[in-house]
Structure formats: structure tokens, C-alpha cells
Amino acid sequence: MKKVLVVVLAVLLMVTAFGCSSAPAEDTGADASVPAESAAADASDPVEEDSTDGKTLKFGYVTSDMSHEWYQNIVNGAQQRAEELGVELITADAAMDAGKQVTQLENMLTSGVDALLITPVDAKSLATVIQEAEAQGVPVICESNVVEGATTTVGIDSVEGGRKAGEWLAEYATENNIDPKILVVNAPANEDCRERVQGFKEALDESGIQYEIVQEVDGEGSKEKSLEVSADAITAHPEVNVIYGINDNATTGGMAAYKEAGLDESQLVAIGFGFEGVAGRTALLAGGPYKSAVAMFPDFMGQRLIDTAYEIANGGEVEERTWSGTTIITLDNFADFYTEENGEYITNFDAVRALIEE
Amino acid sequence: MKNTPVIEIADMHMIFPGVHALKGVSFDLQQGEVHALVGENGAGKSTLIKILSGVYQRSRGKYLINGEEANIHHPLDAIKKGISVIYQELNLVSSLSAAENIFFGRLPAKGGRVQWKTLYDESRKYMEMVGLTISPRTKVQYMSIAEQQLVEIAKSLSLDAKIIIMDEPTSALSPKEVENLFKVIAWLKERGVSIIYISHKLDEIFEIADRITVFKDGTVVGTRNPEELDEEQLIEMMVGRKMEDIFPDRNAKLGDVLLDVKGLTTEKVTDISFCVRRGEIVGFSGLMGAGRTEMTMALFGMDKRIKGNIILDGREIPLNSPLAARESGMGLVVEDRRKGGLLPNMSVKSNMTIVSLNQVAKGISISKTGEEEAVNDMIRKLKIKTPTMNQLIPKLSGGNQQKVLLARWLMKKNLKVLVIDEPTRGIDVGAKAEIYSLMNDLANQGLAIIMVSSELPEILGMCDRVYVMKDGKITGEFNREEASEAALLEKAIH
């Protein structure tokens, strides 16, 4: 019995350890460093003094799930921008645990940050911690999800992005004389994803072209599941000639199912909402069916988060929602937004910024 | 004095899948009497008490309580009619206190709150009746078997039981505890409680029973007063043969030393040294907890050997490996069949051949015909009663299960030493005689047998030589001629 207990404890420790350290970006481990720092902060670092010149600003960012490429890239972008601005950024990963997220946020507040950045695991669980932040005069900036009480929300407009995909398809179909039979690889448990599909349909309807959505499947945002359900759908509907996926995994999973079914890939057009990581870019550059993507520029999103926080911390005013840019990317305009350096693609931030300033 | 019996049963039949367990049984129980049921395992005693207590529904027959139709369809009905059963495997919740067990399911409560004081006071009252002096707060898991049994009886009394059925109540009790139990039974009798008493221990039955009913093969052989007959006659009724026939005549032809154990020591036994010759039956006697079973575990490599050597047929057996012990030619039939012997998910066939599959295999495949021939051969030789060799082992009677486990080792071609721990535990008299005779034959064929037993008659009747153990050590060694109950007991206790 005792042995079992020891093992359980060991396992729990391992789980916790991995949960914290799986974030590859430099993670100062908010949990661990808090006690010592907070004591020092209380004594010599009154909150009011933080925003005065000469003092380094300190931001804290808790993500929902660092095992996801999208968030890794956001954090990378944020980290980079923070360095440029001379801001200290500490990050933590809630690993999809709402309770853990609250604890991490509270720890950051005690350690005396000048702004809290959050990708909520569960918007409803954040009310108390946001009140606390408000009481201490710390602004709260949420990523993507609107949370009541937050100073602002930085995000991409999913409906608008979806519309861009729909508009592009309408145009492409007319030019190439295609009668679109569309397979949508969705992840309907997620509101953003539902909106990406909603905008796509709206734009297609408004364009007035003939089209049919033959089936909408739930790929849960993973390539494995997307492949599986798409394979079933494509057997039922081999006439599919367009695949629209709500992220890189959904789109490439659908494409793999199409190929596996032995259908002619030259007849397929794939459009992805995505570019959250490398898979989408690789697929586009391969010159296959993946013709265009609604790029989300996660690293730019990271920049926006820091910029917004910086502005507020320096007394600036921001609107309730702050948008980060999206645009349609095809092989034609790829080079405008990404520059290749040693096999890696660097986002051209000026070009992205130009998008939102339009 | 023949009043209306408290229980009357006539022409009772009980049919299970594959078994006609009771074939027209008649029986009656008078008020304030101790009525013993005896018979071999599978004779129908357990089935009868399960019908009486509502666990089974009879297939056919009459069942009257105080002259009226019993109308018992559920164990709860039986409890309401004042029938309590104390099973061999006690029905207590070990993590609860004595008091909570006595009033299990009907704790005295007011407005949803348990009245602990009332509970303990009431429990103490009933516990005192059965001579139990421990605190009602004591958890069952910290009690001895005897104390647990008394808690069960106290529970029956609290349920106002008029009829108490005791199934093998003394099988795990010390002589002193048995004496105490009999006092309680006498006291219950005085209060007019009727008792049905099931036991294999015939001396006890003669001591306390007012009447004895003998079962055999699902029928009643007869009901007698204890004064009418002696123990031998009773056994004759039970098995249809005479007592002296139970043990075979030993005419041991001893060969050279086959197993030589020197200074065997584990955490539980110390410095065990003994030898067994070819063709010899060596007994290990001693009280419960003397370390005999632990000695067999040390021998078979189950417990970690700290020091000592085991030499079988001139070759040293490597440390701590039952597999090596088996490959060197040793076999072990354990004391607790269910825990350490039977493979309950498997057939008679698979249970039997599990240690000798290599003998019936070609390459990696098991030869179906080879295996079936070997199994059939054993079923015939050992007279194992089973419908087919594909029957699941738990469906066999205890005696037949034991025979299958013996057959398991006998099938092994290179078997040289067979260790049998309590060869006849939970087995009826008829099967006992068969197993004794089998052991005798095996020894005569040159096998060395180590027999661990708590039953002195068995040790004295079968063994050529006896070692006595106490506290994990060997304290005495006797030849067949020197050995007597008194001598063995003296070494076991002293």
C-alpha cells in the first residue's frame, strides 16, 4: 500500500514537472520564483512607481496550452517584442487547467507585474483574479477570448478571416470554372473555429456563385482525427473538390484523406485558415492542392499583445478590442509576408502591420 | 414430548444446472435441540441450509415453520422468521466496529443521526450474552476468528433468532475457543433456541448434538441419537466403508537420499535441515503458525532464501526461483487451493497440464490429441469426477479439485519430490481415503513425498518419518515407531 502511494506521488510530481517545463520558450517558472521575489517587491517596489521612467516594466503572460504551436509562436513574438521594448516578460503555461491558470495569475500579481496577459482556459474562472488585478491597478489584456472586466482583448477577427477565405474561393472558382463541392473540416467545440466557418459561408453566399457544402466533419483540430473523419466523408462523397480546414492540421489532414482515397489531387483545391505553424506553409510552398491560406501571424499577435500592454502601462488609452491582422496568402504574395533566412521563414512584421492600419 | 417441530422438511428436491443436489430429503428440527448435519462435501448439507435461509428456492417439496408453510423467498424473509445463519466465511464488514456489525443496516437513529450511546449499550448487552468481553467499539479486523463468530451470534440474538444455523463453526478455532463456543451453544439451548450444526469434526458432534442426521449423495441416510452409535459406525453411514480402511498399509521400501536440505533460512524460517529418501513419506507437524507452510515456500523458492542449500538428486537447486525448483523435479500442492493452486478461468484439462505442457507440445504448439490422452489417463487413474475435461475447475467438488492439482504434478515425467501442504483440507472422508491411497502408491513407485498436516491422525497414519516444527524451526524428528500424538504435541508446544 505504501509503495503504491509513493508511486502515485512520484507520478503526480512528474506530471506537474512536465506540465511546467514543456514550454520551450524561456519560462522563468512563475510558480517557483514567486516567494522570494514577492517579498522583495513588497518592500522596495511599490506598484505606483513601476510606470515611472527608468524603471523596467514587467509583464506576466499565462497561456492556455503551450503544447500548441500557435501559442508557442505567440510567445516567441511577444518575447521578441518585449526585448525590443526593454520590458521584462515572464510566462507560464496553464496546460489547459483553469485552476492552475488562476494560481499562476495570482502568483504573478503578487510578484508585482505591470500588466497581465492571459489566454483564458476558461473565461468564467477568471472573474476574481481580474477584480484583484483591477484593485491593484494592473491592466488585464486577454488574447482571443473576450473576458468581462478585462482592459482589452487582442485577437483576430475570425468571422472576417473566414470571409476572406470565402471571397478568395468565389473568385478562384469563377476564374477556373470550378463548381465547388466543399468538405469543411471543423472543430465545432471551439467558438473561434465555428466563426471561421461562419464567415466562410457568408462570403460564399454573398458572392452568388454555385456551391455546395457536401459535409462538415469534426476533426477536433488534430491531424489524426481530421484524417480519420475526412476519410469517411470522402468515401461517402468522392465528388469533393474543395477542402476548407479551420487550422493547419484540419486542412492537411483532409488533404491526406483525399490522397489516401486514391483521388486525383490535381482536381482538389484546399484552403486553410491557419499558418499557425510550419505545416501550412510547407503545404502551400509544395505547390499542391493547398492553394491559399488565411494567415493568422501568431508571432505578430504576440507583438500586438506586448505593444498593447506597453501602451496601457504608459498611460495610453486603448479600445475594448484590439485586432491583429489576417490576410489571404497564396504563392503569389507569400514573399511579401515571409522572408526566408537559413531555411526558416521570418514574418515581415511591417507588411502585417500595414494590414491593420489599412 | 414431540411437539410441532420448529422446522419440518419433507421430500425436498433441489436442482442446479447439471446437478440434482437434493433428492427427496426429509428432516425436522425441534425446539431447543442441537441437530447436527454430517456428510461428505457435496452430500447436500450446504444446499439444505441455503434453502432454509432463503438463498435458494427449492425446486420441489414441503417446508414448514412451526407447522405453517414457510413462505421464504429471500434471505430477508428467513431473518424475519427468526432464522440466522453463521457461515464458515463470516459475513462481517471488517472495517466496521462490532456494534455497527451487530446492528448493520438498522443502526438506532433519531432524526437521521445515529444514537451511538444506545448502539454501544445495546451491543454490549448482546455481546455479554455470548461471553464476549471486548469493547463494542473494536473493529472486526482486529478480532480473532472466534471473536468474530461470537459477534455473529450476538447479531443473531439481536435479531431475535429462534433458529441458528452454524456451518463448520469450529474449523478455525483453538480447542479453548471451541470450548467457549460450546458453552454459548448450551446457553442458547436453554433459552429455547434451536441449532442446526454442521461439522466434519465427529468428536465435537458427539459432544454437543442431540440428534445427528447423515447425508450422502443428496439423500438422508438416517437420523440417530448419539447414544445409538459410535464414531466408526457414523463414518460407515457417511461413506459406506469402515474407518480402518481410510489409511493404506505403509510398506515403505526406502531408497537413497533424494532431497537434502541444509540450514535453509528465510525471513520466516530458520536453519531448516532435513532429508527425504526415495519412496519415503515425510511428515511435517506442528501448530498453526509454526512455519510449516513457510518452510514449503522456502523450499520452492517463493520466499527469498537468506542462506542454506537444497540438494535434489545430487544437484543444487538455484536460489529463489519456483521455476528452477520445478525444473529440478520438485512439485508443490499448496494449502490454500483457491489462492495458490487453481486457475479458476481454465478447464480441468488446462489446469492439469499447465506444468507439463512441454511434454505434449511439438515445437511451440500444443498437441491436442496428446494433451487429451494424457488428461484422460489421469482422470481415469485418479477417478476424478468431472462431466468432461473441458469443465471449468471451480465447478468441481473440493476433493476432485485436489485430485486435479495432484494430477498436475504427477503428469510431470521427471517429478522426484512432491510437497503436499494439508493434502485433505476441506475434503470429505471418501476422497480422503482415495488421496491417502494415491500417496501410498506414489511413494511405492519411488517418489519422495513431503506431507505438511495439522491433523495428527493423518500424520501418524501416513508418514514414515515426522519432523515437528515450532516458531519457524525444526524441534523434533520421529520414526514411524516412535511417533505418537503425545510425543508430537509435546515437541510442537514445548
Binding site: 509503495k3 512536465f18 | 520452492f300
Partner: protein, 340 residues
């Protein structure tokens, strides 16, 4: 001719008496319903598609069935799939050799299985806890080594493994069929198989019978690890990438199918035939419901109901069988003239 007839008859009676009869009927009913509801269901294209998906569950599930029969469990099979993808794709991209890529994954499977087996057998730890631990560790390893970013396959030929065909039959299905026959034979007709059932039925008794309990446990975990990784390689090949999140939750799908197939979690009871039928039922359910365009949320509900219903009806069937035997006995007595 005559002997053929008797064989067919005895095979039929075996199925009739066996525990999987009910499952086979359930499978057939499910197929009929799906065929009536969707015209595509019975098309060759769909059957092959469905079997290819089942093959991934089955190849891993055959090994896991052996583990469960042994009275143990392996929760780490899902994470192992991620490791399989990583090992094979990294090796492939480094060497360009498909054979080496597969070999690397299988070797990793043997290693991972040996670790599980060793901890359970020699460490004397509960397998549920051990494999819960290794499940987390391997997932962590997959995330750390890739930074949670999938690795693309650099040699497109690799995709042939999982998506290719032999004649009209997908490669995975062929592998599944071969493994089914081999493992069925092992469990039914070899000493190794008999030992698995014995140890699963009563480990203490098996030890006391001198069976090589620990060696068996390690070996079976190694087999399970190798088969799981084989399935993982096929998955990676189908996705033409190594996904660090591959196989997330996969262990539950496989275990559910095996239990549905009548394999007892206590060990020693059930067989690979039943387990395979269980996998088919869940596979067909998922495939059919997607064909019918049923929402994925409803699919979850349907899957749960089917598992519970199947187990329940199986209990009902067993009870009815027992009742029937008693009735036969009574009738028999009646004929013998014993009356009340």
C-alpha cells in the same frame, strides 16, 4: 466432402456456444442498419477505408489484448504512438531508409515495452500506475523533443506504407490479418498462450506452479510495445508527419473496444476474436455515423450507449442461458417420474 461438412458444423456449434455469439450478432445487425441507411456503406471503397482505420486500432489492440489477458493494463499505448512517429520520421529524414525508419520505431517499441514490463514485473508495481506514469513521460518526451511542432516527412515514398495497397487491400489491413491469425494461434494452441491465461487467471498459483511469470509479463509488454509502435508508424505514414500529439486518448478507444469484445479486465477471460469484433463494432459505428453526417457530439453519445448496451445484453444472455439449463434439468426429472 463429408469431413468438410462436419468441420463447418463444429465451427458453427463452437460459435454458437462461445461467448462472442452475441457480439457477432450485434456486429451483423449494426452492418445491416448502416447498409440500409447509407448506400456507400457496403461499397468496396468504404469497406477498405473502414478496415484501414480499424487496422490501426487492431494492430495495437492485439498486443494490448494479450496484456489485459495477462491481468495487466497498458495506458501508455497512445503516447507510444507519438514516439513511434518521431522515431520513424526522424530516422527516415536522417537516413532516407524506410526499412531503418520502421526498424527504429519497432526497436523503440521493444524498449518501451520492456521498460513497462520490467517496472511491473521486477519493480512489483501496479501496472495501472506504472503505465499511467510512462504514458505521461512519453507524451512529455514527444513534446520536449519536438517543441510540440510536428515533423514533416522528407521522403514521400514513406507514405506508401500506410496508404498503399496490395491488390485492392490496404497494407495495414494485410498486416492486421496476418497478426490476427498469428496471435489467435499463439493464444489458442501454444504453451505461451496457455501461460498467458494461467497467469491472468491466478498469478499466485502460476508462480507456485513454477511458470515464468515475470519473464512472461516482460515479453508480453515487449510484444505490445512493438505492435503499438507498428501501428504508430502506419499512422505517421498516413499523416506523412510525426505529430507529437498523435494517439492522444487512443488508449481509451482501444481498451473500450477490447472490453466490448468480452475480454475481462481482471485477466484470463476472453480472446482475440471477441476483441477484434469489439474493434469492428466501434470502427463501423464511427465510420457509419460519419457517413450519415451525424454530428460528432452525438457520435460520442452513441458510442457510450453502445458499449454499455453491449455489456448489459451480454449479461442478460448469460442469465438466460443458465435458466435454460435448469429448465432442461427439471424437464428431465419430470420424465424420470419424480413428482412432488
Amino acid at each position: 466432402m463429408n469431413s468438410q461438412k462436419t468441420t463447418a458444423k463444429s465451427v458453427f456449434s463452437k460459435i454458437k456456444d462461445s461467448d462472442i455469439l452475441f457480439l457477432v450478432i450485434a456486429l451483423i445487425v449494426l452492418c445491416v442498419i448502416m447498409a440500409l441507411a447509407s448506400p456507400v456503406f457496403l461499397s468496396e471503397r468504404n469497406i477498405m477505408n473502414m478496415l484501414r482505420q480499424v487496422s490501426l486500432t487492431a494492430i495495437c489492440g492485439f498486443g494490448l489484448t494479450m496484456v489485459i489477458l495477462l491481468g495487466e493494463i497498458d495506458l501508455s499505448v497512445g503516447s507510444q504512438q507519438a514516439i513511434a512517429g518521431l522515431c520513424s520520421v526522424v530516422t527516415l529524414n536522417a537516413t532516407g531508409s524506410i526499412a531503418l525508419a520502421v526498424l527504429a520505431a519497432l526497436a523503440a517499441g521493444a524498449g518501451v515495452g520492456a521498460l513497462n514490463g520490467f517496472l511491473v514485473a521486477k519493480g512489483k508495481m501496479n501496472s495501472l500506475i506504472v503505465t499511467l506514469g510512462t504514458m505521461t513521460i512519453w507524451r512529455g518526451v514527444a513534446m520536449v523533443t519536438t517543441n510540440a511542432v510536428s515533423i514533416q516527412v522528407a521522403y514521400p515514398d514513406f507514405q506508401e506504407l500506410g496508404t498503399g495497397y496490395v491488390g485492392p487491400i490496404p497494407n495495414g489491413v494485410i498486416i492486421m490479418a496476418v497478426l490476427f491469425v498469428v496471435i489467435w494461434y499463439i493464444l489458442r494452441h501454444t504453451t505461451f498462450g496457455r501461460y498467458i491465461y494461467a497467469i491472468g487467471g491466478n498469478q499466485e498459483a502460476s508462480r507456485l506452479a513454477g511458470l515464468p511469470v515475470d519473464r512472461m509479463r516482460i515479453t508480453v509488454y515487449v510484444i505490445s510495445g512493438v505492435l503499438t509502435m507498428l501501428a504508430g508508424v502506419l499512422l505517421a505514414s498516413r499523416m506523412s508527419s510525426a505529430q507529437p500529439s498523435a494517439g492522444d486518448g487512443f488508449e481509451m478507444t482501444v481498451i473500450a473496444a477490447i472490453i466490448l469484445g468480452g475480454v475481462s479486465l481482471n485477466g484470463g477471460v476472453g480472446g482475440i476474436g471477441g476483441a477484434f469484433v469489439g474493434m469492428l463494432i466501434l470502427g463501423i459505428l464511427e465510420n457509419g455515423l460519419t457517413l450519415l453526417d451525424v454530428s460528432s457530439f452525438w457520435q460520442n453519445i452513441a458510442r457510450g450507449i453502445v458499449i454499455i448496451l453491449a455489456v448489459y445484453l451480454d449479461e442478460v444472455r448469460k442469465a438466460r442461458l443458465a435458466k435454460k439449463i435448469v429448465q432442461e434439468q427439471k424437464d428431465h426429472l419430470e420424465n424420470e417420474g419424480i413428482t412432488a
